[in-house]
Subunit: 312 residues, 2 copies
Amino acid sequence: MEKPAAVAATIDEVSRDVGVGKDSLRVWERRYGFPQPIRGSNGERLYPDEQLERLRSISRLLDQGYRPGKVMALSVEQLDVLSAQLATGASVEAESSDNAVIAQMIAAVRSGRVDQFSGSLEQMLDRQGARQFILETAVPLLVQTGKAWACGQLSIYMEHLITQHVRAALNTAANSIDQSVTGPKVLLTTLPGERHGMGLLMVDLLLRAEGVETLSLGVETPIDQIIEACTDLQPQALALAFSAVQKRTAVIAALKELSDKIPEPLVLLAGGEGVSKLRAIPPRIRIVKSLDTINKVVASLRRDLKDVSAVG
Amino acid sequence: MEKPAAVAATIDEVSRDVGVGKDSLRVWERRYGFPQPIRGSNGERLYPDEQLERLRSISRLLDQGYRPGKVMALSVEQLDVLSAQLATGASVEAESSDNAVIAQMIAAVRSGRVDQFSGSLEQMLDRQGARQFILETAVPLLVQTGKAWACGQLSIYMEHLITQHVRAALNTAANSIDQSVTGPKVLLTTLPGERHGMGLLMVDLLLRAEGVETLSLGVETPIDQIIEACTDLQPQALALAFSAVQKRTAVIAALKELSDKIPEPLVLLAGGEGVSKLRAIPPRIRIVKSLDTINKVVASLRRDLKDVSAVG
DNA sequence: ATTCTTGTTTGTCTAGGACAAAGTGCTATA
DNA sequence: TATAGCACTTTGTCCTAGACAAACAAGAAT
């Protein structure tokens, strides 16, 4: 085993890889003394593999709620200890209820039995149907996967693999829904900066399982484009998905702008972790706290629709 | 029509929206005098709607090959003239061959007949089958959509809508492929920074239509993770997709690293616009120039596989 | 008609300073 | 015993202005 050729990554590559802004990388160096990249011929930072690895560990812990000041000075070993603590904490919780199946599926991926994993997924989908599959298999699976990754028990590529297979399964489910187009029309998307499309896809499916006609724009639609789409396509509702990464003030500002600029009868729905614990919610915005309340939301939409047509 | 409430976007929002780096926005201001945002209470840049609009036009033209020094000083009217010129240029080319159907589909979206558009898509898929649908409908449709967007003839949200429906159609196609798992195993992904997943999805489908067992990691897998995945999963080949946006030097460096670190018998495939006109290609990397040559690549993989098993 | 050379354009890097939003912890109130 | 208010600390992102390499353009020489 020769040592890898000590290739060093640029700040741009590191920023993308670890998921931390370039400014943050520089200010961490200034404040905490880590990372301390070597310099190229023109003074550019070049991060050695070893520091990159440590940065990845740190970033994982930051996602779990630790703060930079606490973890930045720690050695790789100490970081691993913290990860391990999180791992035991998570596994206690994992013993609950029926997620033995899910633990088994993750274990299959970890030991390289990918086809067995995807087989289990399809089997669950067959058995449970779209709605139950999403709520009781897909979501818990992704949550557990996230936890396992945060604890360093799962490689990034395994997380990618799991995500891809879940996505494929959801698409399979989408094709098996018989569209009886009798419901309201809902426009779906996320705001710029929100790149996670999985939640959106699940909402899309759940809505269609309820007989709703969905129109998805995919992720990251600029606000003015959302408004234009609402004007052109005249949906009954607009649904936005938020993951946990979002900045609160930006989210609220965006929701306020939508609430101001979108013509009145249209219902504005917002859901996802990034929005479920907001305080000051602009008027007209309806927060959907959980995926399993979507059927109630749809019922409410149907009622509104009937009222309007009764009046008109 | 009252004027919009003169809300102004921050540099971060503008950067994401227009797709231009923050540093570039600042240096454009310094060099060309545009944009010239107003300043907030602490000196932060706040870009008025009007400048944002102009930035979007400029960015479109930059994508088409114009250079900042030429277009930055131009007024909105002059920018529109350039866009119009591109539009006529494009339409001349569009008259060729059989893409009348495609023009019609785009026209349907423009006039709000979305269900008609998606109906046509499904119909084409039924008629053509996966392979032909991708090569003769999906790709030309996306290319034409890109051009129409570049000329300002298509809103961004319409492009999103088209992309989403094509994606859905491809997933439908994926489910209709009868997997006779007799072929080689291929690992699929893109490098960090490459966020376009459509090409990847199409390659995935084409490979599976040829009987290949594909394993997709989705987009943006870090290089060390790609290597780890290759070691763990032991595919016959690794396929990487590149769109046109990539930086050449970074692409070459990444390919070289993969070529160095990935164990020998594995075949390295690279495809997409971002890679088709590269000069200095690292050894072992095989460039796939076009989607319709994938069947030949598969044939070659099959041959290699047979040779190895004959020897072993 | 191609390759080489020179000059110009353009994106991204650097440094250190600044400030608001988010988090932490203490105190006073129902 | 909780909850709300208030100061204090931490942390991410923005600012300015300078520098340089990669990408491009255009002319020269094969």
